[in-house]
Amino acid sequence: MSEKEKLLKIQDLSVEYDTEISTVYAVNGLDMELGYGETLGLVGETGAGKTSTALSIIQLLPEGIGFVTSGSIQLDGVDMLNTPEETIRKMRGSTVSMIFQDPMSALNPVMTVGAQIMEVLKIHHPEQSRAQLEARVDEMMELVGIPAKRKTEYPHQFSGGMKQRIVIAVALACEPKLILADEPTTALDVTIQAQMLGLINDLQKRLNTAMILITHDLGVVAQTCEKVMVMYAGEAIEYGTAEDIFETDQRHPYTQGLFNAIPKLNEECDRLEAIEGMMADPTQKPKGCRFADRCKYATAECRAQQPMRQVGPTHYIRCRLFDPMQSAR
């Protein structure tokens, strides 16, 4: 694929957090590419660096604490790391927008929901008249399935699912090219979750919006994403299309563990195969495979730096078990 077709291109991204006590290496040398209209599922355990990746794309890492220490991010042809803040601000909401995990806290409690949708429209379409904007607000509300007359209400008057719809409406109002959805449904029920994911997918299709869906639920990924990236301790350890990940025997041992650890609805089993051991310490800079401590296939070799290996046409794995040559055959 040529440069032009790519919406997002991340190379060797590293993110660090400076806390009072120590430095957390949240993302370590991440590469990622995403085309227009594509959906990428970003999976991984708590603390794997999923949110940090998303925040660095939209350049909202907590000020003074979180820093991109190396790498580059190209979004829609813009170098996100070396562009003035004002330009990036204008891109937020219009080119890229973000949906946060908890709808309860993502809405300002003292503003009406209508005003919160209106706000993003006003910023990015200052040329439009108030009436036009109002009409667009109504349209967005209807689009996410809430009667437009409720736009004068405050967030606390809405249920969790409705709030999340408003959040989605805000994110989609300016028809961005990329949506970063950071665990948008974790706080919701499965039934509502299904509704939301369906809604997002529909709108995405309609507007040809790309999306990075962050989650640790492989089930959600399976049902919504075309591409999948599995992260572990700040690194991408596996990357491929949904088919590559879900319908294959070639999986990174961690991904494998993840699949095994989930109780299956449609299979019987007595015992779950848990991944023993704990997450790697994020305050240590990695040397070699970070999963090695928990991996049953680990050998001394794993202590050396592991590159991403291409194991299929679109499938990459960061593990010495997979020989790139073999897969090419």
């Binding site: 891109m91 003292v110 503003m111």
Partner: protein, 315 residues
């Protein structure tokens, strides 16, 4: 809205109970203060007969509970009773003085709150930078100085050495506004400094708290410009805890006028209370505390209403 009305109703009932308790509390506490109001009024040359005569005249010879009840009864009939040391109806003494005090406290409060909140915002936005440290440091110095000491220094420097302002005294506003102002500048500034620092610290921490909220990040993700985020998203939400404190702070300020009025010779509620205590004019003191507590209750009520305006969740 009915929610808010209900809350206000509940608050009014609560305040009434509190005020009643205050009256009980103060009235009986006062009885424990050594000293005799009549003897104090009459001075050392009073004869026992004179003392007896006035004691009876003012009803100080009745049992305490009867005195209390007749005071409360009087309040409902619209009289606070007679002050022995001032020889007049207490309401006539307290109300004009309350006005004097308020004419000092309210501007001080407004100046202190506004500058405090503004500096707090500046401080929070520059957190960790030198400006933050400088502001915090001076704010802390502000609250750490004894108010009367600060007043003294002001008098010494601005009044005595530089002759910029009168050292003390009071001129009624209606007599000469310019004079009134020149006399009040110093006390108002001294009082506002303490408030300023308090609100500065509060605003700073409350802003910092709000900065971390998801909805602020959401707003940034929407591309809202920085200033709009501060004004529309951060400030209003961080005002909620600030408003809560405002009511009680205004009340405390009225209390601390005792010092300032004494120092700057301002005939307000604080100095009248001080006089009441030192001359053992029990009724005056009790009524003074009553007035202050009613004032505090009103402030809190206003806070509740403000709360309703700022925070739709309470409506």
């Amino acid at each position: 809205m009915p929610n808010l009305l209900k809350m206000i109703g509940k608050r009014i009932v609560q305040s009434c109970i509190t005020i009643l308790l205050v009256t009980l509390f103060v009235f009986f506490l006062i009885q424990l203060v050594p000293g005799n109001p009549v003897a104090n009024y009459l001075g050392a040359s009073a004869t026992p007969e004179q003392i007896e005569y006035y004691t009876h005249l003012y009803g100080y010879d009745r049992p305490v509970i009867v005195q209390y009840l007749s005071w409360i009864g009087g309040l409902f009939r619209g009289t606070m009773g007679q002050s022995i040391s001032y020889q007049s109806e207490i309401a006539d003494i307290l109300l004009p003085r309350l006005m004097v005090t308020l004419s000092m406290v309210v501007p001080a409060f407004i100046i202190g709150t506004v500058t405090g909140v503004l500096l707090g915002i500046v401080s929070a936005l520059n957190r960790g930078k030198w400006l933050d440290s400088v502001i915090s440091f001076f704010a802390n110095i502000g609250v750490s100085m004894p108010m009367f000491w600060l007043g003294m220094m002001g008098m010494l420097v601005l009044g005595l050495r530089l002759h910029w302002l009168p050292t003390s005294g009071y001129v009624p506003m209606e007599r000469d506004f310019g004079q009134w102002l020149s006399h009040m500048i110093m006390p108002i500034l001294v009082m506002s400094l303490g408030v300023n620092a308090g609100f500065l610290r509060l605003t700073r921490s409350s802003m910092l708290e709000v900065i971390r909220q998801d909805y602020v990040t959401t707003a940034r993700a929407k591309g809202v410009p920085k200033n709009a985020i501060i004004m529309k998203h951060q400030l209003r939400n961080s005002l909620i805890p600030i408003v809560t404190v405002m009511g009680s702070r205004l009340g405390t300020m009225v209390g601390s006028t005792v010092l300032i009025e004494n120092l700057f010779v301002i005939p307000g509620l604080g100095s009248v209370m001080m006089n009441g205590i030192s001359s053992r004019d029990f009724m005056l003191v009790a009524n003074g505390v009553l007035v202050i507590s009613i004032f505090v209750a009103l402030c809190n009520l206003m806070v509740d209403i403000l709360y309703g305006i700022i925070d739709p969740r309470t409506r």
